[in-house]
Subunit: 197 residues, 2 copies
């Protein structure tokens, strides 16, 4: 009973992560009924982004040019390479103003349960990137989730075998954090990873 | 630092209901990185639906033809008109196989807090629809939410003033429901709306 173009739109919306049949239906009605201008804008933005975005040749993040702005910046310290999972993570690190090296974006994490293996993230590209003779230290800044930790462990082994210094961002209590409100796992890690003063 | 076409895609995704900046970013990365085929399919489905879907001239639901399949069916009882908020509600009523009349889809509900007034839903179209000389009873099947109830109340007054019989679908315990597990409001309504046997 649903017209086929409406049915196709609902099915097409289900490619979005976290969108099931009910949300897709609600989204389709909203686009058609309340915001056809926003809908056509969305269609064009998808097509434009697919046509114009590529991966930075050096760091693998999304860029419209061969080299992204950071990789093209001669002021950055080419001896340090920070490895993150996604471009959002890169932006979070940049916002700290605490890192002046270059980045490498894996565009994912190892996640065997989701069918994401070593071939699905940019590992081989990372290995050729670190072989440029300039990178001396790799800072692993993948998430502290099970998948992010596994990815960091795997990368550390591969990179150390190539004679690179590898570090991992610290785990511990947040700035301004109180022991009373920390979860036991984080507090345990903060004890284990205590640093001499 | 975000390339402009990526930024535009993230902004464009925010027209979807329930999608904030974080989900939009996640959706954009997913489309670009994991499912470019699904993304282009989505863009085409939006464009195709916008170009091909219109409202059924009689009942206001989405249709690709002037008259939807139900309105075009001469077997339906043209004396009964069931008013619902959205096409999904129409489908739910159809699935019961308990109603053989025709429908009218408001494409919304009165919701002053969201800026949806009488002009934003198809009220004037409903009034000309019920003036066809065939409709004798209007069954109000808007939701039992605050907005749906207000809409039903408003419609009932307008339709009764035009001499039409107006009814509202029943509230009460669900089929198979136990008093022990009913919420007090529903149970109270089931008592107030008890029917003689």
């Amino acid at each position: 009973m649903t017209p086929s173009s409406l049915h196709q739109l609902i099915e097409a919306l289900r490619v979005l992560p976290g969108v099931g049949p009910k949300s897709a239906t609600r989204m389709a009605y909203h686009l058609l009924q309340r915001d056809p201008g926003g809908a056509i804008n969305l269609a064009h933005a998808i097509e434009y982004a697919l046509a114009n975005l590529k991966h930075c040749r050096r760091c693998n993040t999304f860029a419209e040019t061969e080299l992204c702005d950071i990789c093209a910046d001669p002021q950055r310290d080419a001896g340090k390479l920070c490895v993150v999972e996604m471009p959002t993570d890169l932006m979070m690190v940049e916002q700290t103003l605490a890192f002046h090296g270059l980045y490498f974006v894996l565009m994912g994490r190892l996640s065997p349960l989701d069918g994401v293996g070593a071939k699905d993230i940019a590992l081989s590209q990372l290995l050729s990137r670190v072989a440029d003779g300039e990178v001396a230290e790799v800072v692993l800044a993948t998430n502290f989730t099970a998948e992010g930790e596994a990815t960091a462990h795997y990368l550390a082994q591969m990179l150390q075998a190539r004679g690179l210094a590898v570090s991992r961002i610290a785990r511990g209590l947040p700035v301004g954090g109180e022991l009373e409100h920390a979860d036991p796992g984080t507090l345990a890690q903060a004890l284990v990873e205590r640093r001499p003063l």
